[in-house]
Symmetry: C2
Subunit: 464 residues, 2 copies
């Protein structure tokens, strides 16, 4: 067989032990909080039918789906037609006979597909969380991968604002548990955004304006002003708009201003009321410092096509230049596209790759997060290793993670192995120890050693 | 947008909460044991370059790879050529421009690719475990899926038989921890198989004969005899063969027989010696009942192309008709195909889907394995739910998994929700309780209720 140079597909990554452990630390923290709030796990397959995914992520999204080639031998009768339609496939169109499946692009559409399929059996309100990889044929670049994990929770089947309250708490609790201080949870409301457009008389350009406004934290107010000027908006409307979007002050001050400003917009006022209710609820909750971390940000305008109520965005601490590390919001209709209408809900997502980078930069991973093996037993011969093995099995029964060096190699080599694998303790049983029923226990961090009985070893406290 | 009927690709599955929890129980047990034995986690991407995978699983395997269509917009210059080569693609050939990536088919080749790529940085002997899904375009049928998990551990860079000893212990310890009694670990040795062929003078037909012999537990000795007869083997050779393969007795008795029978085969005797050493080691280990569960099975002949030493197969308890629930063995050369020669190792795998079925059939999952939310707080109005929410947040701080019903619905509906979600406790705070600072706590399993102070609730023991 021809030899192949070992390589990885562009935009994908291997994760070695240390990275897996650190990532699992984040995943497990998020999962634990989701469960504390009553969310239950769901897993869906990596592949979905192409027609489940096509058209759900805009024209650009269709092109970024990883499509799976049908197995030729699976459906030979369709080949000829498939060949004719080949150009369509390469344009990202679904052509039966060539490709009928694709890798999932996010977790929301598979979730919607699942809810629609199992609608009759599920208990509503239905609360699920899902932690799985997704794939996008994006051009790879720093921090952007073709395979990455999403961490989502959704609650569907209720319009109660309690869902929003709980999701806000979930964000803050996850960041508290990960010890990431100074995260900010920004909230806004789709209806406030709409109301502002109405009051300023620019509804007709809503989409274009909001896309520009949303860039405020990247290009600054001056940048926004410049771009808005290009949109051919009357100067007095522009000034009215900027009066809102440059508004400073506490959440309460902003809400007071908006109540007055949005008087003529029923929609806008509804948004203000909902934000107020959620903030009130949170201020009375047991998480004392909630209020200080949640800020009404009127420039926040994500998910304009699907969010219909409150919108969330979680921001990394300002000292790391990372931006958004999570987002979400309320939608009116999760499953309409799959024939099950009128199912409203709220969902949020955590950006685990970015949270990982934030935690690395701020050195927030616990010191023992990547501790694997606790004790290495040296191998000094057959009789010695047999004695060691008996002890190892007893320690494993006590949940101590042990290894024995498989070969009877030089001391040096075995020490180096322990060192490279970051193993904190070594146990040495040589001829003398074998005779005496003892062992030499080395604390490799402190560089200390002691000779103890094998019985003592079995009750030694190896937790560091 | 056109509405789509929600459906799943053939051969794939969604996993709801209960199934996810049960599967995680198995995964976590296996992971814990791998770590107790010093194995470290590795994760590789779902996709590999096609040339990494092609040719590694035989001709049939090439056809069963799920190939990923290149994104047309990614490399427009290659289209024309691709179209010409279309027929080749459908035959499962790698054609640049149409498909250059595929989903992984197992965890061994990606592991080999990883080791070859990172050869210079890794510490040898290198011990990794990997728990990830794999994909095969097999025809779906009962118990065979197109997406399923593999659970592998490998140790490479040592020829010490201690690896075999440890893998045998891992099998037995996993089954003990899962409380699956009466699993059998069958072992054999590639060199014993070779030796038998030599002594019987049928080396030339080794492959064909061993494939038949391996079917013994499916078709019985008579079936094997019948098939062997068709292979045009001289009757005296056949009888010699069958004398070995119908051999009964303890491991020691079989080994004694083989030492005599294989006298003229150096290779065969080496196999016998190794099996003997491993069994001796195991008999002296701390796992007292090891011996009784490990059996030398001379008909075991899996992985004939790659295993070169001891072979393992784990069998489900005889009362469930499931057959193999795991397998593995020693190989001489993991990474030669990727240009890094002479890297021997041992690897094993657990069949999690089958273990799941065995545990379901024998009702071995712990009763609390699928316990999600512990307490449901009823929602009886705004003031009441705010009081409830304050308590909930305090309970969550004590790691109690709580929910509040989001809407102020009828009692009935809220009870039904608790019932369907299998939530063991309900807390009710109505007008009266709100005034008095109390709450009504219902044990939904026992059908009992009590009114206690809210302070008492916070220190109640909700673990069931």
């Amino acid at each position: 067989m021809a030899k192949v140079k070992a390589g990885l597909p562009q935009g994908t990554r291997d994760f070695g032990a240390e990275t897996v452990r650190k990532r699992n630390y984040i995943f497990n923290t998020i999962r634990t909080v989701f469960e504390l709030y009553g969310f239950q796990p769901l897993e869906t397959p990596a592949m979905e039918n192409l027609d489940t995914l096509m058209g759900k992520y805009g024209e650009e999204g269709d092109k970024l789906l990883f499509k799976i080639l049908n197995n030729g031998l699976e459906r030979p009768e369709k080949h000829l037609k498939a060949k004719e339609d080949f150009d369509k496939v390469l344009e990202g169109k679904n052509v039966e006979g060539i490709t009928e499946r694709a890798l999932r692009y996010d977790l929301t559409i598979p979730f919607a597909r699942y809810v629609a399929m199992n609608h009759g059996q599920l208990t509503f309100p239905f609360k699920r969380y899902q932690v799985q990889p997704v794939w996008r044929a994006d051009r790879p670049q720093k921090g952007r991968y073709r395979e990455f994990y999403q961490c989502d929770a959704d609650m569907v089947g209720s319009t109660s604002l309690l869902s929003e309250v709980e999701f806000a708490c979930i964000y803050l609790e996850v960041f508290a548990k990960l010890q990431i201080a100074d995260c900010r949870l920004q909230i806004n409301h789709r209806k406030i955004l709409r109301g502002i457009m109405e009051v300023c008389g620019v509804e007709i350009k809503e989409r274009e304006i909001l896309v520009i406004i949303d860039k405020t934290d990247k290009i600054g107010v001056e940048g926004v002003k410049e771009e808005l000027l290009k949109e051919d908006i009357a100067i007095e409307k522009l000034e009215k708009l900027l009066a809102v979007y440059t508004l400073d002050g506490s959440n309460t001050e902003k809400l007071t201003f908006l109540k007055d400003f949005l008087q003529s917009s029923e929609t806008g006022l509804k948004g203000v009321l909902e934000i107020e209710q959620v903030l009130n609820y949170l201020s009375q909750s047991a998480i004392a410092d909630c209020r200080s971390q949640i800020g009404l940000d009127l420039t926040l305008a994500r998910g304009l096509e699907y969010y219909t109520g409150i919108i969330f965005e979680a921001k990394a601490p300002p000292q790391v230049k990372m931006g958004s590390i999570g987002g979400g919001g309320r939608y009116d209709d999760l499953t309409g596209l799959f024939g099950v209408p009128n199912l409203p809900g709220v969902g949020i997502s955590f950006g685990v790759d970015r949270i990982y980078d934030v935690m690395e930069e701020l050195k927030l991973f616990p010191e023992d997060v990547h501790l694997g093996t606790q004790v290495l037993f040296f191998n000094l011969g057959e009789a010695e290793s047999k004695a060691a093995f008996g002890l190892i099995q007893q320690l494993r029964n006590k949940d101590i993670r042990c290894e024995i060096y498989p070969d009877q190699s030089k001391f040096d080599k075995q020490f180096k192995y322990a060192d490279k694998k970051n193993i904190p303790y070594a146990v040495i049983i040589g001829t003398k120890e074998l005779e005496e029923g003892t062992c030499t226990l080395k604390d490799l961090k402190k560089g200390e050693q002691q000779t103890i009985s094998q019985q003592e070893l079995l009750s030694f406290n190896f937790t560091t």
